[in-house]
């Protein structure tokens, strides 16, 4: 497999995790907007490969490029969704995530969900390592107020009962 093919394969392999990151980043905008961003990120990474802006010898370069493209596109696209109404059915952690500013949300997702190193996450977010770590710390402090325990059965039953439909 040539360098170029290896880079395209790397983007292809990253598609499921790009979708996971996009869905969490777009927790306010929904799955369709998230998949649109993934499509756009894949197209931009592919263009960078075709224009030989990425080198095949650098492992992970195409994946980083796709994550960077996704984060940049989301930053522009999601500005209108900051005040969108959240579904009450989202798990508490997702609701907490939605309340974070975009840059803090991206920082904690890149580190905690996607498992990037601080250096790689800073490159994706287009910032310095120290700035990224500061955003991560603020995000974790904000999320520490979220109650992560599963709801008590009575709470869950009350919540679930509202959308159940007895058919017969």
């Amino acid at each position: 497999m040539g360098d170029r093919e290896a880079l395209f394969a790397e983007v292809e392999e990253a598609t499921p995790t790009l979708r996971r990151y996009a869905r969490a980043l777009c927790v306010l905008a929904g799955s369709i907007a998230a998949d649109d961003l993934v499509q756009s990120a894949i197209d931009k990474a592919a263009m960078a490969i075709r224009e030989r802006r990425l080198r095949g010898g650098e492992p992970g370069a195409a994946r980083l490029c796709a994550y960077h493209a996704l984060t940049s596109a989301a930053r522009e696209e999601l500005s209108g969704f900051e005040s969108a109404k959240l579904s009450a059915r989202l798990p508490p952690i997702a609701q907490g995530l939605a309340s974070l500013p975009f840059e803090e949300r991206a920082a904690i997702l890149l580190i905690a969900l996607e498992g990037f190193s601080y250096d790689a996450a800073a490159e994706i977010a287009g910032t310095r390592r120290e700035t990224l770590v500061a955003r991560l710390m603020r995000a974790r402090a904000a999320l520490s107020t979220v109650d992560l325990r599963p709801p008590a059965p009575s709470d869950g039953q009350r919540r679930a009962g509202g959308h159940l439909r007895l058919v017969k």
């Binding site: 170029r4 499921p16 979708r19 197209d43 969900l113 979220v146 869950g156 007895l166 058919v167």
Partner: protein, 294 residues
Amino acid sequence: MGPSPAMEEADLHALVDNEISGEERRRVEDHLAGCPEDAALVEGWRRQNAALRAAFEPVAQERPPLSLRNAAQRNAAAGAPPIESGAIHWGRPSNSTRSMRRFEEESAGRRRARALASTFGALLVGAAIAGAAVFVLTRPGVAPPAAPEPSYVERADLAYHTYVFDPRPVEFDAAQREALLDALRLRLGFARAPDLSSLDLKLLGARVAPGLRGPAGVLIYERGDLSARVALYYEKAESVGFPRLAPRVDQALTAIEWRAAGYEFVLIGPLGPEAMQQAAERAAAEMLTPTLAP
């Protein structure tokens, strides 16, 4: 609350995020052993990480939509960069000589004449076909056949009768819980096996069955006295609404359906409406609750 003054908060984050190793890591771990406040902070951040993964990992296990499958490889095959301006290209720019251009212009004229004749002929044939279609469709007394309304509940009813009383009702036994969840997650993009034991329903196991629009998961539960079996059917909810008319379900069964997180769930079994409602509420609550890593 922040970490104790002896340790930088950034060091604690670096430990959680595997950014430090060796001597530095041991130094932070030794500090945590003697500082329960900081240890609790670190534990809380690890729980956040686990909750994030539990909430969004199912997305990575889903089969991507058609538009994203092989998207990078399609891009690789496309060759030249895509045109992003919305421009439409008719033909291609010419680099031929003057005499060649004259020849091409004459050829183009002949092609235009043939195209016009062909278009006119096609319009005549099209008009004839359209007239015939209008005549057939507007004849009195011939109503077009109504398409049956699809229903997840009927599909769940079918799965119940097909599998629940089979000598081998499940593909994956409850004893192999991880294999069971992995198989369902792989085929359906989401898997959870609600614990209904407090309602005297013990999980027997699960299987993958044909659904309305794709594969469906069927979890089968049995009452403690072996007197009844209940099935929890689920599949990805596509653009099929709740049916306007009551679905055709076995009169001896009760079915409860609901939707959550893009999936359609149907609990179906021979218990009374109240017991089924309780079981459905418990199942729905567990399906929505993220699983935290221990």
